[in-house]
């Protein structure tokens, strides 16, 4: 079949449109919308999802902080009140309290501290 001139048209063809729309007519619009919204109601609320995510993140951060402080206290190098801003930053960045102690200490690391961190 030789293509008709309309085959090249950059505009939508109303004849094709009408035929295809009828052929693909989905029907029962209200029923479809109701089914989608019913499935939405089954989903956990976005806020709950976010809260769970935030809770996990907060727990992980708290655990890392406690681990860092305990490590520091056991090593006898730092106390909670002496924790510097740099140590906090390194600990939060690396997730390791030991790394913060090593990287921000004014004195060379004690071998016992190094051993403790390796055991961790």
């Amino acid at each position: 079949m030789v293509p008709g001139p309309n085959d090249f048209s950059p505009e939508p063809d109303p004849h094709v449109r009408a035929a295809l729309s009828a052929a693909l007519e989905p029907g029962d619009r209200a029923g479809f919308v109701a089914r989608v919204l019913a499935r939405v109601d089954e989903l956990p609320a976005r806020a709950e999802v976010a809260a769970r995510h935030w809770s996990r993140a907060a727990l992980a951060a708290a655990a890392a902080l406690v681990a860092g402080l305990v490590t520091g206290l056991l090593a006898g190098r730092v106390t909670p009140s002496r924790t510097s801003v740099e140590a906090d930053f390194v600990a939060s960045t690396t997730g390791s309290g030991s790394a913060a102690i090593f990287l921000t200490a004014e004195q060379p690391p004690d071998p016992r501290t190094l051993f403790t961190s390796l055991v961790e």
Binding site: D13, V16, L24
Partner: protein, 190 residues
Amino acid sequence: MSAPVAEGMSHGREDDVALVVRTLAGDRAAFGTLVQRYEEPVRRVARAVLHDVPDADDAAQDTFLTALMKLDHYDQKRPFRPWLLRMATNIAIDRRRRRVRRRTASLEPDAATLLPGPDVAAERAVLQERLREALYELPERYRIAIVLFDVEGFSHAEIAEILGAAVGTVRSAVFHARRHLRELLADWKE
């Protein structure tokens, strides 16, 4: 059937963005409005990909749920409809690929439905069935391209963006699909 809606008109981008913002704030009714507004094109695109109507509607439902879950990734500076229809296209294609082994003899045209009926309604139903069959004979990209172009009113460039294809490829797909369908329609009229 509602007419295709150009961006920036009554169903345009600004309204959509306001609904998206309200949906993100937890407004269920706003999301319901978005579903009502776009269920027709989403379902048509899904049907262009998937032969089975319930399967296509499941894909369309999945599209809206996925859109809801990913709504915070939607760039509010861009039109909503192409974003949604791209998602619908991908979800329907994924679903068809997963179901391809389950395709059965249902793909064969039902001989009973192809027999011309005694009245206009029956003839129209037969034509629609033949059109659907003709549509599903086309390559998937052709089907999606012609539905997005001739039914939904997207430009070649917009379809290219939705499908992740070159504009020339889309233009060619629309051309071939039109020729095929017009041939069928002309035969039917004779």
